[in-house]
Structure formats: C-alpha cells, structure tokens
C-alpha cells in the first residue's frame, strides 16, 4: 500500500507535468483578443491555455473595470467571458476576489509558464496599461503577454514571426534565453533587433557588410544564441525603430525583457513600444545579475 500514490501526490505530479498558459479575462472588450492570442501563443510555449475569469469583489475594482465594457453589468461580464472561452474551446476557471491578488496567485502556480492579459489603452493616457495589468507586470516573475483590445489576429493557427529587441545587456540575454529557445524549437522564426543609440554606438565599424556580419554574429552569440535567429541592426530612437521593424517584418509578437516598472521614466523603450504598437508584446521579467549569481 505504501507504494500507491495518494490522490494528492498524483495530482501534484500531474500538475508538475502540465504547462499552462493562463489567459486572464473579465468579459471586457479585451477578452476575445486575449483568448485568441493565448491560443496562438500556447503552441510556441508548448502549453495549454486556461482562461481565468476573476470577478472583482471590491467596489473600486468594479468601478475601474467597467470602463472597458461600459454597457455590461458586472455579472454579465462573467457570462460573456464564459461564452467566449467556450466558443474557443478553452477551459475556464472562475474566481472571485481581489483581481490583482488572485491573478498573481494563479500565475505563481508552478504549472503556469506564462500569462496573457488585456491592456486598455486610453488615447489620452500615453502610458496607461490598466492598473491591474500594470500591477501584475510590476510583480511578475513569469512572461506576460500584453494584448490590446484593438488587436486583430491573423488567420494563422499559431504565430510564426517573432521580433525580439535586444539591448545587449547580459541580464536581458539571460532572462529571455529559455523562452526564446522554447519558441524557436516550436518552429517560430525569430528576428532579433538591436538599435544603436548615441551612447551605445560601437566605437569601430569597418567595412559595413563584413563588419555587420562579424558584429552581428557575435552579438547573437552573446545575446540570443537561439538557432535560426537573424539580426537586424538599426539606429535611431529605439522604441520607434523597434515598432517600425515589427511592422516591416509583420511580426506576430514582440518579445521584450523588462524590469517591471515604468515609474519614474524607467523602461522607456518598453513603454514606447507598448504605446506605439498593437502587436501583442510578451514581457519577460528581467533576471538581475545579483539574483543570477545567487
């Protein structure tokens, strides 16, 4: 009898084997894009989508969340979310409570490899992601895909073209390595982008063609050693150039590393990209050097 696995143990093993992509929905306008994006990202992460609908319990949150679906009552948003998830054959889990807390707890589950959240861009607020999304991103320890309500998905079953801006920072390279390797192994074509800025322009640049090849080869070795990745080198304002490159490449997704906060002017490039693009952006939490060494 001692060798028989208890239900709890069995459940744990099963959960450890699962790779879930959590899609956070609330029945708002972002619900459909979030679920569609999740269903396209899941194959790249070798994960299964699980939708999570959290009904807010605090009045403040209720008030804050109505702006995305102004004509819907709070109770009907859950029904709407369930209907959309069902139509996309995505399993749904309903939870009540503080949205940010519940989301953080759910994402913290070991089986969850990443999450998809909706953003709400208010044209009057350049940096507005939505307070829950911002709070989530600020504390995220796993990749979070930000999807705009206005995003129009392509007809492809899964995403094929991924754009990955790289700043040449070692912690960025380390932070994205696992995710990018997984994505590449699932067949996506990765274009890395590095944008020279006045203070990061190389000191030497000999014959353009040869140097670009040598420099780019080494840059990829150091920053994105993922098979099949190609590098595009650009110069100019990084946020603007990244979005231009993503549009030119017709990227399905942009993958960026970030430190979790836009306050005080931090993460200006991420902020700029989030503002300028409607392409889903996968934000990977930066692993700082001191945590790497520990």
């Amino acid at each position: 009898m001692g060798q028989k696995m208890s239900e709890k143990e069995s459940s744990t093993v099963q959960r450890e084997q699962e790779r879930l992509l959590l899609a956070a929905i609330d029945g708002s306008a972002a619900t459909t894009p979030v679920l569609l994006a999740a269903s396209k990202l899941a194959p790249l992460l070798d994960a299964t989508v699980q939708a999570l609908n959290i009904s807010p319990t605090s009045e403040t949150e209720k008030a804050l969340s109505t702006d995305s679906l102004p004509d819907a009552a709070s109770s009907s948003r859950s029904e709407s979310a369930a209907a959309i998830a069902s139509s996309l054959h995505i399993s749904l889990r309903n939870v009540e409570g503080d949205v940010a807390d519940e989301l953080s707890t759910a994402i913290g589950d070991p089986s969850v490899v990443a999450a998809v959240v909706g953003a709400r861009r208010l044209e009057s607020h350049r940096y507005q992601l939505g307070h829950i999304t911002q709070e989530l991103l600020a504390h995220a320890t796993k990749p979070i895909l930000v999807v705009w309500p206005q995003w129009t998905p392509s007809s492809d079953a899964t995403w094929q073209k991924v754009l990955c801006p790289l700043d040449g920072n070692e912690s960025t390279a380390r932070s994205i390595r696992t995710t990018m390797t997984t994505i590449a192994s699932r067949g996506a074509k990765i274009v890395a982008v590095h944008v020279f800025e006045p203070d990061t322009v190389p000191r030497f640049w000999d014959q353009h063609g040869h140097t670009q090849e040598s420099w780019g080869r080494e840059f990829l070795y150091r920053n994105c050693s993922v098979p099949g990745t190609t590098l595009q080198i650009l110069a100019g304002p990084p946020g603007e150039k990244i979005v231009e490159a993503a549009n030119g490449y017709q990227a399905d997704m942009i993958v960026m590393c970030w430190a979790g906060s836009t306050e005080g002017g931090r993460a200006p490039v991420v902020t700029e990209v989030l503002y300028r693009t409607r392409i889903p952006v996968l934000l990977i939490p930066r692993i700082e050097d001191n945590s790497l060494s520990s």
Partner: protein
C-alpha cells in the same frame, strides 16, 4: 594529479674541476655524460663550462654523438679557452668529432678570480657571448645579464627554459638525478610544464563565456601556412574551432568567396572526474558540435557536457607563451585536472602537435573533424591506471584522414594520429596533425599521411624543440622591449607574434584582413595587407613581405583584365581580393535604417592600385632586395602607372583630375579629386618613371604581350605623358593654410567636429546615418594624413602639423585602421600625450576586444599599424635610399625602448631612452640622427643634446 616538475630545454652547468681526465673518468662522469646524451636525443641543449683543458675532458664528452640537442663544452682554462661544439645537425666534420672552434692566444684573455676567463668576442661569436657578459653574470649574479651570457645554446636565450647549475648544485651526484628526472618527463610523454616569463605571455582565464570566441581568436596559433583558432579541447556549442589554410577559398551558398574550413585537430577531447563521467555507453556525442552560429538545442548528452564545460571554464587558465609559440592550459573540474600544451610548428609549417593529460577520464572522438559535418561517434574512453607506476602503457596510434576540396580550385588534406599513454599519475593523449594544401588541386591525403609518418619517435619533443628554436631566432630578429610600460610591451609582442606567424616565409601569401585567425572578412585581401602588414614584415621577416608581393604580382593579369573591362589601360587591383585576384567586394548590405545599402568600395576605392605599387617600393627600398623588380615587380609598377595615366580626366584648363572615387575615408563616397588618391597616383607614376627611366624605353607596349616583363616597356610618348600628368594632377593643397582639401568640395561641407557629437573612437556613420554624415566634415579615418604616413617625402614640407590640426578633430576613428596612423603622425609631430592615447587604443584593440568583433578574427592591419606607430612614430625610424634615419620621441613614462629589425639585409638593434641612443648592426649601416652627421658603422652611440643628438 600532481604538477610534473618543470621542464628545462637548456641546461647550463658550470664546473670548477669536477670533470676528471679522459683517460680515467670516474663512474659519475661517465653516467653524467650518458644522461646528457640521452637528453640530447630529446633535443635538450647543454652548455658545460669547465676550467679544465678541453683535452682533459672525458672521452664521452669530447667525442659526443650527433643528436637533436646541441652540446657546447666551454673550456675556460685561462691559457687555452676553447669551445667544443656538438651542433644539433651534422657538420662537415665526422659525425662523432667535435668542431673545435679554436684556442685563444694569451693576450685575448682576461684573467678572473675563479678561472672562468672572459673570452674574446671573436672566439665566442658563434656562441653569441659578448665580452664582459659572462663574467658579469657569474660574478655579480646579475640575473638580467644571464640571458645574454647563456646565448651559447645555439638559440637565443629565454631564461625560464634554462636551468643553471653551479657550485654545489653542479656536483654530478646532484646533477645526475635531476637529468634522470628530465629524461623521465620525456620518456613518459608528459605534457611539458614550463616556467614562463610573464612579459612574454598572454594569460587568459576562460570563465567569461562572452569572451570565449574572443579568446579563441587571440589564442590562435599559426605557422604561416595554416592557422588554428584557440578553442579549448572539450568546448561545444558557442565555440568556433577552426583551421584555415593560406589562400584556399571556396564559394559559399550565398555566392560569396571565403576561406575554406579545414579539418580541425584540437577538439573532440572530453575529460571528467571518474565519478562524474559522461554516459560512456552513448555514441551520440555528435550533438555537442554545432556549426550553427547561433547554437543548437542541446541534447541531454550535450547538456551534460555543457555543464562540464561551464565548470571547467570557470577554472581554466591558458598561457600563450609568445616567446616559445606554445599554448598551455591548466584546468580543474572537481577532482579532475587537465594540463595541455599545443603548438603549430613554425619550423615545419603544416605540422601541429598537442598533448593533453588528466587524472580523470578522457573521452575521445576522432583526431580530425570537419566543423561543417556532424561529429562522428566517440571512439573510446580511457581511464588512468593507478597501478601502472612508471609502467607506461601505450595504445596503438589511431589515425584520422580527411580532405576538403574547394568548389573553386585546390583543397586541403589532413592526417592526424592520436595515442594514449597511461602511467601512475595520469593519462596523456598525444595528438599530431599534418596538413597539406594546394591552390590548384586537392592534394592526396597520402601526402599528409606521409608527413605524419616522418615525424617519428620523440616527434613531439623534437618538433617542439625546432619550433621554439625558430621562434627564438625570430624574436632575436624582431624583439621589442619597452621599459616602463609592460602592458604595451606585451601588446607589441602580441602584434609581432601574430603577424610573424600568420604569414608564410615563402611562396605567395594571400593575407586576409583577419589572417588565419577567424572567418571575419572571409579571408579577403585588402590594402590592410599591403600598407599596414607588409611594412612590418619587410622589417622583421622580409621573406614574408616578399611572399605577399608575389601574391599581387601573380595576379597582375587579373588586374589588367579588370582595367580592360572598365575601359582603361594597365592594371587595376581589386579592393577585395581572394584566390584568383578578381574583385570580390560585396556589393550590398543591409544598412542601419533597415534598407539595402550599396557597397561601392569595389567600384570606387581605387587607391588600392597605387597602394600595391607602394608596397613593392616599400619592400625593395627598405630591404634593399631589388630582385623582386625582376620577378614581375617592374611590370606591376608600370602597369599600375599606366592605369592611372588612362584613368585621369583632363580639364579644359589642362589640369588633371581623378573623379568618382572613394578615399580611405569611406563616409564620403563618389568624390572627385580625393587628395590621397591623387597623391598616391602621382607617386605611382613618379615611381614608375624613376624605376623605368630611360633604359626601359625599348618599344611600345601592346595588348598582345606574352611575357610579363614586356608590360614594363614604355614608349617615350608614354613617358612624356606620365611626366605631364604628374605635374598637372591636382592634389587639393591650399598654400595659405598648408592644408590639403580631402576632396573637391570638402571645405564646403558642414564643419562638424567629432567632439560635438561623441567621443572618438566612434562609428560616426552609425551615429549620424549614412546620408547625414556624408554632408559633414566628420571623417572615418586618416585620409589626407595617410599620405603623410605613406609618402611623407612627397607631401608638401611642413604640411603635417596643419593637417593634423585640421583633420584630427574631424576624425571619428570609426575605422580600426585609424588610431595607429594618427598615433604615429602625432608622435612625429611631438604631440606625445595625444599620440600615446591613440597608440594604446590600437595596441589593445584585439586584446580588449574594443570592436566587439575580435571573435571573428584578429585585426591584422591594426596589429601592423601598432608596430608602425612605435617604429616610425615614437622611434622616428625611416629610410631614404640606403640611409637609416632615427629620431626617437618617447612618452614620458617609457624609460627605454629596444627594437630589433632588418634594414637593407642587416640586422639592426636600437636601444633608445630620452638621453641616449644606441644602434648596433651586424654590418655597416649609414645612420642619420638629427643634429649629427651621417656616419657608417656597426655601432653608433648618441647622447641627447637640445632637440637633436650628438655622437659619442
């Protein structure tokens, strides 16, 4: 695994009267002689100094057999000092008879207290002991004097390799066990462990994974014909092991021409502690190798291997001993230790050798593999056998044979053997490799195999001895010492080490921008080779410079074709060249704006044609070897001059112009009358006129010539035309300011200085963009100033300073070629602080990976430029005709600089400080220093006086 005792390659024993008469040698003396001779079989050199008459020496020493190791017996008896020389190669004498170099007469001797007489320079010349040195070192124990004192070893001395025994240490009872230990080290095939002199050694810790490929580049070993990147033995994805052969190219999948990947001999060696070994049952080690520059997803096996690599990397140190030309590694991984040593034999190009020892488990793949193919299964594992104390177990040698045939012409064949030796402490792998290349057809692999077979017993030790002797000789010819600046001293030695080993000393040399050290620039030959590398080699390794010229001369016909195809006469050399001499410059790239950028250098950077002619002049003028002119050089000069004569445009006012070119400053394309190009073209025409003179006017050249020399025939009309062009070709010089306008209209561009936008060096084109920078006066590199560097006697007198003042602040130094040239000119102008700053940038460019591209190969031009800045800039060396000019201007913290080089076939040694200048030469030379009259002689000593020098 305990560290084996240090190896000594030369042993100096100073005896008083310990050797007894030959007729009654004691047992110890006989045994000592026996030990000496057995070590000589491993190419160990000996110098014995005794105060006995040589005739009193035991027979075993007086009649020593010929062996790979030299033996010199130096009798210092004050009344009849003499030397017995048993050189490593048979002389004209009977093999067992020593060459007695003679006895000195009494008046040539200087008595000493301990009977070690100081011999005359005449008698000791073959041993290169100078009067006073021996006594100084022995009596005063001056360690700095020892190297010169013991140059008696047939090779020049590298102190860490020499064991000096004297007094009680020299007693046979103590020497014999020591010699036995040295013999055992060799018999047991141990990895040699040498003491190192840090001033000659580049020491690299392997822990930083980002520096992995950079380290592979700077730790490259080459023998002139083949270059091997310095990858570590067990490295996997992310490393770029490679071997390249001089001049063997292929066309890749994109249609580009690049150096071919040769079979690699340094990898497929995995070592682990016995308790943490890899899965021996697996045969899938192929997954650990990747040619994908971005790496491959790792299999479980290779993940495990990678963990091992990471561990070992963190505890792996390598020493590139540039004096010996060896790369040594010590590493630990848990309880396992690894010690390896490798070299590419510069005395036998094409032969390479390594030994690897570990106390753990050694897992081997084939000795050769092609990076472009999946690696075959591992062949076997070997574990050390503790019970085999001094019972050497040898495996049967396993041979690998591989060939790579170019899809253009020629190819490379390689053979390698590996053998395992197991003894008490460790298991040792010995791997020997042989490469044969042919630019015309694939050489049979049997030819490589034959070379391998000829190495024979004791092959590793004998090859190593020949190798270090050759390096010792080269350093004696080309050494540099800088007291007060160890970092720069090491950097200059690094530059020389790589330049001397990356270029062969015979045949023809296609010296790519990155040499044989990496894939960068595809092995293409630029002006880097002619202008930056060749002048260095003309001074330190003239045969290599000549080989570089033959590369150009042998492709003159292609340059003629190139000119014809463009509607011109003569010969137009390609901006980028590979095997057949045709233009291989890429025509487009993706720019930083994401758009396709046309690369126009192949079409317009035409100064290369004059640069090639200049290289020929530089070589023949510096070395005094004019034979190159008869071997195609004159034709090359005539044809390049003829090209310029047909290339120029003549205005209605009679002025002559060269339009639509790119100068060295590539930020400004398609310009008219680039001052540098025009001056070089004029110089080219003048050189042709000077060279051909009246005697060459034998007829009219026509296109139906059959012999290369025929192209050097010029008509009087042509001569007249050339004269006219040289007098009317504009050069942009403004008399009032003393400044050359870089090209027509340059002064009208936006007068932007580089300091207004960034701190140089900086890639200005990336900063401002291609179109924007073209509208400014910011330039990439020395352009007008390049003329001051190359043809200083042809530019307007006094124009250096105004042009430095004008162009210096406009130069971004975005080209790696630029800092060294500016440093050289600034030093000439006496602006030493500025000069030193740029000089240091150039010197450290690869060692500190300042370009972030060293991973793909060494910047040979910068290495060459660094030496040039030291020689021509800080030491003020130049030549006119057969006169050597020297005018040192040293940075404040340099106490003394010593530099060796050849001039006009003579070896010259300069030692300069702020107060004194000493110049010595093997033959008489004409020396000119500012403030003193020109003199002829071998020894010159001057003291500083004011701005000039006075002779002493």
């Amino acid at each position: 695994m305990s560290d084996p005792p240090l190896r000594w390659e030369s042993i100096l024993i100073l005896y008083d009267d310990l050797l007894v008469h030959g007729e009654s040698p004691n047992k110890e003396t006989i045994e000592l002689s026996s030990r000496i001779h057995s070590l000589r079989e491993f190419a160990v050199d000996f110098l014995l100094l005794t105060d006995q008459e040589l005739t009193e020496l035991p027979e075993e020493l007086r009649f020593a057999p010929v062996a790979p190791g030299n033996l010199y017996v130096y009798g210092t008896w004050k009344h009849s000092p003499a030397v017995l020389e048993f050189p490593s190669k048979p002389s004209a004498h009977d093999e067992d008879r020593p060459a007695v170099l003679g006895n000195s007469s009494h008046d040539q001797l200087i008595d000493t207290d301990n009977n070690f007489a100081q011999a005359s320079s005449l008698k000791l010349a073959p041993l290169r002991i100078r009067p006073g040195e021996l006594i100084t070192s022995l009596h005063e124990g001056n360690p700095e004097a020892l190297p010169s004192a013991i140059r008696a070893f047939g090779v020049r001395c590298y102190l860490p390799l020499v064991l000096i025994l004297q007094g009680e240490e020299a007693a046979p009872s103590r020497v014999i066990p020591l010699l036995e230990e040295q013999r055992l080290l060799r018999e047991l095939h141990t990895v040699p462990r040498f003491a190192h002199d840090s001033s000659w050694c580049l020491i690299v810790e392997d822990g930083d994974r980002h520096k992995r490929r950079v380290n592979e580049t700077i730790l490259s070993l080459a023998d002139g014909a083949f270059g091997t990147r310095g990858s570590i033995e067990e490295d996997g994805p992310g490393s770029e092991p490679a071997v390249f052969a001089m001049g063997i190219y292929e066309t890749d999948a994109t249609g580009s021409i690049r150096l071919i990947d040769c079979p690699n001999w340094t990898n497929n060696i995995y070592w682990t502690p016995p308790s943490a070994q890899l899965d021996n049952s697996s045969t899938s080690t192929g997954a650990v190798r990747s040619i994908d520059p971005h790496g491959l997803e790792l299999s479980d096996q290779s993940k495990e291997t990678s963990k091992q690599i990471d561990k070992t990397n963190r505890q792996s140190k390598r020493v590139l001993d540039m004096y010996m030309g060896t790369l040594e590694r010590t590493a630990t991984n848990g309880t396992a230790q690894l010690h390896s040593l490798r070299f590419s034999c510069i005395a036998a190009p094409g032969i390479a050798a390594m030994r690897v020892a570990t106390n753990g488990t050694l897992s081997l793949g084939p000795a050769l593999f092609l990076p472009s193919l999946p690696m075959p299964a591992r062949e076997g594992d070997y574990e050390m056998s503790p019970e085999n104390y001094y019972d050497l177990q040898q495996s049967e040698p396993e041979n690998s044979l591989l060939s790579v045939e170019s899809n253009r012409t020629g190819g490379v064949s390689a053979a390698a053997s590996q053998r395992i030796y197991t003894n008490k402490d460790c298991i040792t792998l010995e791997r020997l490799a042989s490469y044969v290349a042919d630019t015309k057809e694939l050489p049979p692999v049997s030819s490589a195999e034959r070379c391998l077979e000829q190495i024979g017993a004791n092959g590793f030790d004998l090859l190593l001895a020949e190798h270090r002797r050759e390096w010792a000789k080269r350093w004696d010819d080309a050494g540099v010492w800088i007291k007060g600046d160890p970092q720069i001293e090491l950097a200059i030695r690094f530059a020389l080490f790589q330049l001397m080993s990356q270029v062969p000393t015979g045949g023809e040399a296609a010296v790519g921008a990155r040499g044989l050290s990496g894939r960068g620039y595809s092995g293409h030959v630029f002006w880097d080779s002619d202008v930056f590398v060749l002048p260095v080699l003309a001074a330190v390794q003239p045969a290599s410079a000549k080989a570089m010229l033959f590369y150009r001369i042998n492709r003159l016909h292609k340059a003629e074709e190139n000119a014809r195809d463009r509607g011109y006469q003569g010969a137009r050399f390609p901006w980028e060249s590979a095997d057949d001499g045709s233009e291989v410059t890429p025509t487009k790239a993706i720019g930083p704006d994401g758009k396709v950028v046309a690369i126009r250098t192949g079409e317009m950077e035409e100064h290369i044609t004059a640069d090639v002619a200049w290289a020929l002049w530089r070589y023949s003028n510096w070395t005094g070897d004019t034979s190159i002119l008869e071997e195609g050089g004159t034709a090359l000069v005539a044809q390049t001059a003829r090209y310029w004569a047909s290339r120029v445009d003549i205005d209605s006012d009679g002025s002559v112009h060269i339009n639509h070119v790119i100068g060295p400053d590539e930020y400004h394309e398609d310009v008219d009358d680039n001052a540098f190009t025009n001056m070089m073209a004029r110089w080219n025409l003048n050189y042709a006129l000077e060279l051909l003179g009246e005697t060459a006017i034998l007829g009219t050249n026509d296109t139906g010539r059959k012999h290369p020399q025929e192209s050097s025939l010029v008509s009087s009309a042509e001569i007249s035309n050339w004269h006219q062009i040289t007098s009317l070709l504009v050069d942009g010089y403004h008399r009032e300011s003393g400044i050359y306008e870089q090209f027509k209209g340059f002064f009208d561009l936006e007068p932007l200085l580089i300091a207004e936008i960034a701190t140089p060096p900086v890639a200005g084109d990336l900063l401002l963009g291609h179109d924007r920078i073209a509208k400014t006066q910011v330039i990439k590199q020395a352009d007008v100033l390049m003329a001051h560097h190359m043809i200083g006697d042809y530019v307007r007198p006094g124009s250096l300073r105004p042009n430095l003042d004008y162009y210096g602040p406009r130069t971004s130094h975005g080209s790696s070629l630029s800092p060294a040239i500016h440093a050289s000119l600034l030093a000439r102008a006496g602006r030493l602080e500025q000069a030193y700053g740029l000089f240091k940038t150039a010197a450290m460019l690869d060692l500190d990976d300042l370009t972030d591209t060293t991973a793909s190969g060494l910047h040979l031009a910068t290495l060459g430029g660094t030496w040039q800045a030291l020689a021509y800039g800080f030491l003020g060396i130049s030549c006119s005709g057969n006169k050597l000019h020297i005018d040192p201007k040293l940075p404040d913290h340099w106490q003394e600089v010593e530099m060796h080089f050849f001039f006009q076939g003579t070896r010259v040694r300069i030692r300069a400080s702020k107060e004194q200048l000493e110049v010595s030469a093997d033959e008489d030379i004409s020396l000119m220093v500012p403030g003193a009259d020109m003199t002829m002689g071998k020894e010159h000593v001057c003291s500083k006086k004011g701005d000039g020098w006075v002779r002493r």
